[in-house]
Amino acid sequence: MIQLDQITKSYSNSSEEVKVLKGISFTIQDGEFVAIMGPSGSGKSTLMHILGALDTPTSGKYLLDGRDISSFSDKELAGIRKEKIGFVFQAFNLLPRATVLRNVSLPLIYMRVPKKEREERARAALISTGLDEARFDHLSNQLSGGQMQRVAIARALVTNPSLILADEPTGNLDTQTGEIVLDTFKKLNDKGHTIILITHERDVAEHAQRIIYIRDGMMVKEEVTSKK
């Protein structure tokens, strides 16, 4: 479960203080599929970084599964990311000259999981994204965009995280392929995974059950879609 309580984030350079997030609070229950939507410059990237334990807020509380991680050190944040969070990026961010299987097992290496178990879990994760098994031994740079994103989703799943965080996952894909990817998220959510989708496109956001609108560092609206 995710609980944000009056989260702010400010950057200070030499002359001024820039307030990117100005006090955001919301709660996301386990198993929800939520979209966070906002125009560029709204602070949604910063919000995603905080949600994904890549950064800490300047003030406010972030409770992840009951634990306040707002003041965690870099090392502690890395631990949270390792165990609780799976990322899906717009640019896929796969290792281009590694196989699909090796890409998906990468997070498990940092969790010190032995090789055989890694491979089994990677296969299971890949199957649940619907990727053709024949592709498992291909190098990731031999895949299409849609296939690569599904590998990335499998990678995000493989550690069994509390939260899957997707940052503009369809941004580099055509509409049709994008639909397949969003559909994959839906299926995963049906299985019980908590998914947060960051986007600036309404069409994409509507695939979620709930949309949180961000503008100028503040939450302006919350909407429940017809997908519940």
Binding site: G52, K75, A78, F87, N93, L106, R112, K115
Partner: protein, 407 residues
């Protein structure tokens, strides 16, 4: 990260771009190969010099005319430059120094030698019958000089095999033949067994005549160029050295030992001096080769830094999925060490081939010791650690958010 996974990740990263990895370690390969080859040449020279000095005979002391010098090698002494040692000195040593097993005076000079239709210029060594024992020679054909020959001043000569080949043709039977040394006729009575060797005076290219004959017919004087004294055992060497010095100081009527007109040199001293000279030579060569290793190390650091920059997004990704600073720095450091270690291994192999080649083509003998090999491995691993540390640290300190945005 598990150790086995760390190695696998590192191996994968390196083999992804084999060409680049190969070019990166080229500097190390060349550096280590040169160090190995230089050290091998140096150590080989050292060993062969030591061998040729000790093959000249063991437990030897050399009494030579001229001032005592720090570096006294046999080559530079007694070439007729100073005439302060006489046959009388040799006889005195023979009769008074009882610890000496054999006393063998020599009178050496180069002369023009002629035989029927041929001639050569070679070293003529006037000596006694003890020469074969003291100097560790053997007779191949005929006989060596005898006590009778010395006493009677007979004009007989024993040839070294190379001189025999030069005068009479390769492998010819020279026994009984006549030669003229400095226009004096001598009869050949023997040929010595080949000793091999290079560098100094080649022992195979020489003629041995009775010292008394040399003094009477060739030099016209009673002086000697060297007196070799063989000790009964190694323990007596120092005692004999002192006794000879005392005796000759008295005979030459010199009161101050510092202004002696002769030197008594211990064979062990000569070996030690030669060793230290070649040792310095080896160190110098290896240091020069070491500079190329330094350059190789800088190349590694340069390449690793480029590597880190190119893989910024990958590092960001690894951190995003939970890699800690330690995981990242260990991976990059290990990449660097693996590269240099591999470079070292190839370099050692290459250096070994170079050293073998130098020896095979007869330039000089070479010697590779295990300690050199271990040192080379150690140095190459150290280079990987030292020059890989900074890039690895830079990689580990990258901010994942910034890194993921990197183009």
């Amino acid at each position: 990260m598990r150790i086995s996974d760390l190695f696998e990740e590192t191996y994968m990263a390196l083999s992804t771009n084999k060409a680049r990895s190969a070019l990166t370690i080229l500097g190390i390969v060349i550096g280590i190969a040169s160090v190995i080859a230089m050290t091998a040449i140096g150590q080989g020279s050292q060993a062969s010099i030591q061998a040729s000095i000790t093959s000249a005979g063991s437990n030897l002391l050399y009494v030579t005319p001229g001032q005592q010098r720090g570096v006294g090698m046999q080559v530079s002494s007694g070439r007729g430059s100073a005439q302060t040692l006489t046959q009388g000195d040799a006889d005195a040593i023979q009769s008074t120094i009882t610890l000496a097993k054999a006393v063998e005076p020599e009178l050496s000079k180069r002369y023009q030698i002629t035989a029927k239709g041929t001639n050569t210029n070679t070293q003529v060594i006037g000596t006694t019958q003890d020469y074969v024992d003291v100097r560790n020679f053997q007779i191949d054909q005929g006989t060596f000089l005898s006590d009778m020959d010395i006493k009677s001043q007979t004009r007989v000569a024993v040839l070294g095999p190379t001189t025999r080949d030069d005068l009479f043709g390769e492998g010819a039977d020279a026994i009984g033949q006549k030669i003229r040394i400095n226009n004096v006729e001598f009869k050949v009575i023997g040929v010595t067994l080949t000793k091999g060797g290079s560098g100094f005076q080649n022992p195979d290219d020489a003629i041995y005549v009775p010292i008394s004959t040399a003094q009477r017919y060739l030099a016209g004087d009673q002086y000697v160029s060297t007196i070799a004294v063989q000790a009964a055992s190694a323990d007596n060497m120092t005692a004999i050295q002192e006794q000879i010095t005392e005796l000759l100081l008295e005979r030459h009527k010199i009161s101050d030992a510092a202004s002696a007109d002769f030197s008594v040199m211990n064979q062990a001293d000569i070996v030690a001096t030669a060793s230290s000279v070649t040792g310095t030579f080896t160190t110098l060569l290896a240091s020069i080769a070491g500079i190329s290793l330094l350059v190789g190390g800088i190349g590694i650091m340069n390449m690793m830094l480029t590597n880190v920059t190119e893989r910024t997004r990958e590092i960001g990704l690894r951190k995003a999925i939970g890699a800690e600073e330690g995981d990242i720095s260990k991976q990059f450091l290990l990449e660097s060490v693996m590269l240099t270690f591999l470079g070292g291994a190839i370099g050692i192999f290459l250096g070994w081939i170079l050293a073998w080649g130098v020896q095979y083509f007869g330039v000089t003998s070479t010697k590779i010791t295990w300690s050199t090999v271990f040192l080379a491995f150690g140095v190459s691993a150290l280079i990987g650690i030292v020059f890989g540390y900074y890039p690895a640290r830079r990689a580990s300190k990258l901010n994942p958010i910034v890194a993921l945005r990197f183009e």
